[in-house]
Symmetry: C2
Subunit: 495 residues, 2 copies
């Protein structure tokens, strides 16, 4: 299906805005050609497609500031975009909005080992941050699967995670500072190379704000020393309860693995068929537990993990003897998505988080739902931090299968909330989970979140249609008007 | 100096509000007696004193909600208070405001080892959280010096730190969830026992918000496994540059000590005279570096720290051979404040943070300022994370010494900002640093912070007079009114 051609009004509006934007970003920085615009029509949530009105590609903070001020003054909506790898539609264009791409912000600005940080422009890829410091023995810990492509600015906007976030935290735990352009064009700097800045944690709010609060034009991240050793333990279990109990026991004993991943039988078989990682095929659940640190610590922790697994009915257990073997253990897990893509025409990747103890319940209920919807599901998850990635298998060419897959997915997310979890672990809300926000948040919660949005972007020009299921006019949130007048400053007597 | 007696209007207002509050919090929950109110007249910043209008001591979230709603509807200002240990005047009462004390919220609600967390009411002390789980081998990492007295809710409000925050983070890095009562009486729950909640990080904003956004009525914190071993290295240096270089090199090599503390000569001598910790007296700077983890890792790291110190002109070096000796190394550091209190009638404890590499510059400039103001200064700091605690020695009975000490302190904080640091590390802004906020933040920054305040408390009833040097009326922040109407929800076409 192709979108209808734009009408005359849209064409005229596009020409007028493009002319104005070209004054701010000269040269090749403004795209209006419809064929070129198609390159921006979707992000990682590829079921949704919409070419933007215009794409603008500024290369300096000053240009971003001028673009935003122009849009603010002229009522033009704007969708910020990093590398366009969002799995929740965070960078999905709107037909009447300008997409502001940050691809030209691609330089590392400072490598500061004494303060253990790197300052980068937002378009630098996640992996390039590690590449910039790995010769000195450092790395940047959060490692989303898309790390070769996704941008560090997008990581901040989505609070990206990855396999290592169990031990090393999400983006928010590894971020030290950002430069942010507000919708008015004002530029603020949040955080820096130091700890706590002594005021409201605006940087925390901006992290994971999905492009609704401002445009990030610079990022300062903490880097870590690469561990001396990393080894992985591959464990097969007769049922998912045993695997889940093992995960719970490892965490309850205070061990924090660098990664603790689980796969169910369909995922194990799909992965093994694809990459031949030598996974056991007679088990119902597989755990991969990576431990890193000094040699002696890793050896000690592996002993403890083995003992826990044995207490929990482990069927097969192998410890990697070399970095090559460790890489092989991971190869299946990392290829699980494309592996599932080989056994099904389409799949829909969900992202929910649950308290660890609820894992067996949730797996059991998902099996029931799978029967109910008549759709297979393969499970791959960051078990250590309770972050599920069920892959629902369907065929978009079979009538109503996409729609059933979506309903199935929504039920999984409702289940996550029901057991005390949340709608997302690391993929964000975006368009995908927008209409499920009410399952998790009360009207009071959502109103308070929207007051926050209004404090940054009262005109609601930034990335509209994302995150919030209903948008109230800022003035309607009401309580902005209760105060009768200026609050005089109280005198505080001294002694 | 004693405050003038309240006038007839104040007495009548007090009686009316007290009568109404007693309907919400019956029994002993409302204090109006002036002698009893004096118990609340100051917090840890004892230079400032002001009895509150009334103290109310609710014991349930519902009561807190009703008290806030009442105050909101009747234009009554309110100052939340935990244990009253703030060093920046965060809990300082106002003559016309109700102080809302959370002392009755003193229960641990849930200990959940599988999810590695504790749920506590806000009045529980920091140390009581550790006590609740230490028999199971766990502890709560942030450890402000006041941990025996300070409350976990106050820790959240001030984003408290401590010696261990270099390795384990500030409160914000160890917090999983809060229940917050808004000024309208609405109750919101932020975070929980899981990771990232998939919306703006309101919990992050509330952490360190110094009582200006809402009242915290429940806290969920992460607990950690107690390390197998902890050992400390005591190092004396001929000059502060060598000690500073050692700190920078330890961090640059990627070692993260559990604590890395520095003392200058005046602090060393005062501490040694007081607690006889056997500190070397012929050195200009002392470092205490604690390493924790498995035995083998600690032994390995101690070797590396020793090698670094030797490369940086260390004069004396001792490694603790027992837990008793380690405790002795720390005894002097932990008693540094009272030790300085013995050599000077009064002292003023500052709290600023700088990038680590700026340490020698800042120490040098502080020595110059000390001469300029004619006041001695002793330096004690969390060197690993660049958090300075200079103690300015003065005599409040000598004319103008307090005022000179305050000007000296302000100059130190300006210097911190000048070298790329910030006004506070862990004590908050409160009253103390309020008027210095403009040194660090631009008008744009401060306006954006205030828009955040307005999103929570547009009437500005919560803890007025703290944090912001000038308070704008929320409506004056202006951009709340730009939007012409409801933003219609864009249709996102599907394929």
């Amino acid at each position: 299906m192709r979108m209808p051609d734009p009408d005359a009004n849209t064409i005229a509006r596009r020409a007028r805005i493009a002319r104005d934007l070209k004054r701010i970003v000269p040269g090749e920085g403004v795209i209006v050609d419809e064929d070129q615009l198609r390159a921006y029509e979707c992000d990682g949530l590829s079921a949704y497609r919409q070419p933007p009105l215009i794409v603008v590609l500024p290369s300096t903070t000053e240009q971003v500031s001028k673009v935003l001020r122009y849009c603010h003054e002229n009522g033009v909506r704007i969708v910020p975009r990093g590398a366009g790898t969002s799995l929740s539609g965070g960078a999905l264009p709107l037909a009447d909005a300008v997409t502001l791409g940050l691809g030209k912000f691609n330089r590392i600005l400072d490598i500061d080992l004494e303060n253990r940080c790197v300052v980068a422009q937002p378009g630098v890829t996640n992996l390039a941050v590690t590449h910039a410091v790995q010769d000195q023995g450092f790395y940047y810990a959060p490692d989303p699967s898309s790390q070769i492509a996704c941008s560090i600015g997008g990581n901040v906007a989505e609070n990206a995670g990855g396999v290592h976030c169990l031990k090393y935290g999400l983006t928010t735990n590894n971020l030290l500072g950002v430069e942010l352009v507000l919708m008015t064009g004002e530029v603020i700097r949040l955080g820096g190379k130091h700890l706590d800045a002594g005021d409201y944690d605006l940087m925390g709010v901006v992290t994971g704000s999905e492009g609704l609060l401002g445009v990030i034009t610079e990022v300062t991240v903490r880097i870590l020393r690469a561990p001396e050793t990393a080894r992985a333990v591959l464990m097969g279990f007769p049922d998912s309860e045993s695997a889940g109990d093992t995960v719970a026991a490892i965490i309850a004993e205070g061990i924090i693995p660098a990664g603790l991943e689980m796969m169910d039988k369909p995922a194990i078989h799909a992965a093994e068929d694809f990459v031949h990682a030598d996974y056991p095929l007679d088990v119902e659940a597989l755990l991969i537990c990576e431990l890193d640190g000094p040699d002696a610590e890793v050896a000690h922790l592996i002993e403890r993990v083995e003992a826990i697994a044995k207490r929990n009915r482990v069927q097969t257990l192998r410890v990697s003897a070399s970095d090559e073997e460790r890489a092989l253990f991971w190869a299946g897990r990392k290829a699980a998505f494309p592996a599932v893509g080989r056994i099904s025409p389409d799949y829909y990747c969900m992202d929910g988080t649950i308290p660890r103890h609820a894992l067996p319940t949730v797996l059991h209920r998902m099996t029931e739902m799978s029967r109910q919807y008549g759709l297979r599901v393969a499970n791959v998850f960051h078990a250590g931090d309770g972050n599920l990635h069920p892959l629902i298998l369907f065929d978009a060419n079979t009538p109503d299968e996409l729609e059933r897959a979506e309903r199935f997915g929504a039920d999984i997310l409702r289940l996550c909330v029901e057991v005390g979890g949340v709608l997302t672990g690391e993929h964000g809300v975006g368009v995908e989970k927008r209409d499920l926000m009410g399952e998790m948040f009360s009207e009071i919660d959502l109103a308070q979140q929207q007051r926050m949005k209004c404090a940054f972007d009262p005109g609601q020009f930034l990335n509209p249609g994302k995150v919030f299921p209903t948008l109230h006019r800022c003035a309607e949130l009401g309580r902005m008007h209760i105060s009768g007048g200026t609050v005089p400053f109280p005198d505080i007597p001294r002694f």
